[in-house]
Symmetry: none
Subunit: 194 residues, 4 copies
DNA sequence: AATGAATGAGGATTCATTCAT
DNA sequence: TATGAATGAATCCTCATTCAT
């Protein structure tokens, strides 16, 4: 989906508004005010409010490469995590919205979109977990579908807290601590023995 | 905080509405309709909408005993987790709201309430982690403040997914799987020991 | 009209409320709150809000003797003025309402009541002016119906300003200054010559 | 303050409504109905009800020249009075509202505005009274601050009665009678003179 | 004599959206 | 491409009043 410059401005304004005050704070009037234009002007660029929200949601996917490049297994998982942290760091409002599917979940129009994204990412990560286990990078006594919440639950919580705290701590540093701990915990039993 | 029967009905209706369609779906009109009364009737029982939301948020705390009974360390953490799962199972709408602080975060009136609760629970869990480490129940090479997201990130994610899926899987069973995995991962590296 | 003790309390509360915040501030809820009772309780004592307002308006007449006692002419006018100042001093909220017929004028139910009172007082004063002129107490080159606004316009303005200022100055003293000035101005031309 | 055509229509409608039924009668719905538009349409032209009332109050000042032109002393006072009568005659609803500060007094937002206006006019008149006394146009045995209520109390009462009576008499004619009487009463006591 | 619960009517305001210009 | 004006539907909330207790 390619957006015009104006469309990008609108989506960015919408994101900031949501980050600032939740979905309730996202009104056409406020978007227009943020851009310094009148409300009807927005309708030149989007068919309506939901189109804006949809563009915003789809924008989350941007910057998430479809494939993990040449990395595989544990490395691919870590890269994925680090990319999310990077994304949040670069666009702090995103951090407040990124993992708050419930914001959009209520509207059936958006919940499908969100679910599809979530499932896609999940499937990808599960494949990587399986590869990692096979490669002996991580312990194999935990099912991949359990590994997913084990790894991404903490990541989401961390990003959310960072967003809600207004970016009071160093997200990337804390993220690395988390990854280190996870690495330790997921290490194959033999390694523990060294 | 003791609520009258009618107040409890109102709060329950409000919870259902939020679970159904987010905060946006929580309107006085809809609460009234759910109870089969007129809107103004609600104002006999609560001073306004925010009082209802506040009562709802405070209600989360109910059923969460202040202290962990006689259990300590790891057992206390597990009990806390199981209590949350039980709470969600008993009151499914709660599962959709319980860990969605962002729903209320936008309103400064509620965000304080939520934060206080969160911090209280977190402090309690961190103390339990520290005790568990000291008792040798869990590994001691991970700081308690990292342990917290490591354990509760997955729990939150699981509960949220259960809520959003409409309770399609067995929350308690999946929760036990999660706890089992966490127990494994957090186990002290015996072969490594001293 | 004889009111019970409770009715008097209600009317007094109503007067205070109006003085405090205008007719808009007069609600059954606030009257009830001021008396520490529930709203329905008020309906035991008055048939409704308008009955309360009517009682209040009629109360203005209380303390205004039907006849000027044994005084006549200028003295009767002065007595009437002094009585009004006394009434206001004794019951400051009254000062904010006393001469604000427009407060009630809008409701046809009350405007009649007010008009009748006003006309009655006016007729009485005009008779006194005529007597005063005949007695040679005041100049006779000004028609009584013009004398009325000339004397009571200033009195009303004074009382109103006192009420609105929160009683910041000495109403009676200023009233005497006013009466003195009026006496001078109304003195028969011959007197001026002395 | 320059108002658009629509804004002027709205303010005029508001004035009529207040004149008709007091502040209680001033509702957005009724203003809208009077203009034949929907309620929300009003919000394109004013930010809210209080903005309308404020514009209305400020409008009172319009047509009141800041300075008394080239007239001074007694002439300036008379001009001011005649201007007020003219204003009322031209816009009868204004007559019912013009001197009813208590209508707005309850709302602190408006009472300040009204007081400022009143004080400004009063100061101006007092200066003119002082000048008149110095010029020997009026007697000097009455203090200017007493002269003010003496002159404007009657004027206000007259205008109010005219407004409340629905314009049943000739305001300007009665006003001239009043001015004539005041002129007589305020005339310096020539025979008394030094 | 008093209350708790309820209500229909109405209050101001905000929303996303449309339309003529 | 943008706007000013407008709107129907919805928002929360307050009003005076009634009724069973």
């Amino acid at each position: 989906m390619i957006l015009t410059a104006r469309q990008n401005e609108i989506v960015a304004a919408a994101l900031t508004l949501i980050a600032d005050g939740g979905i309730q704070n996202l009104t056409m009037k406020k978007i227009a005010a943020k851009l310094g234009v009148s409300e009807p002007a927005l309708y030149r660029h989007f068919n309506g409010k939901s189109e804006i929200v949809k563009a915003l949601i789809k924008g989350f996917d941007e910057g998430i490469p479809e494939h993990s490049g040449d990395s595989r297994g544990l490395a691919a998982v870590k890269t994925f995590v680090r990319d999310r942290l990077q994304q949040a760091t670069e666009n702090p409002p995103l951090a407040r919205v990124m993992f708050s599917e419930e914001l959009f979940m209520d509207d059936p129009e958006f919940s499908g979109l969100c679910m599809e994204m979530r499932h896609r990412h999940r499937a990808r990560m599960c494949a990587d977990f399986a590869a990692a286990a096979e490669l002996g990078e991580i312990r194999s006594d935990i099912a991949p579908e359990i590994l997913f919440p084990l790894v991404f639950g903490p990541v989401r919580l961390l990003v959310k807290q960072w967003g809600m705290s207004g970016g009071i701590f160093d997200l990337k540093a804390k993220g690395e601590e988390l990854l280190a701990a996870l690495t330790k915990m997921l290490a194959p039993a033999e390694r523990n023995a060294r």
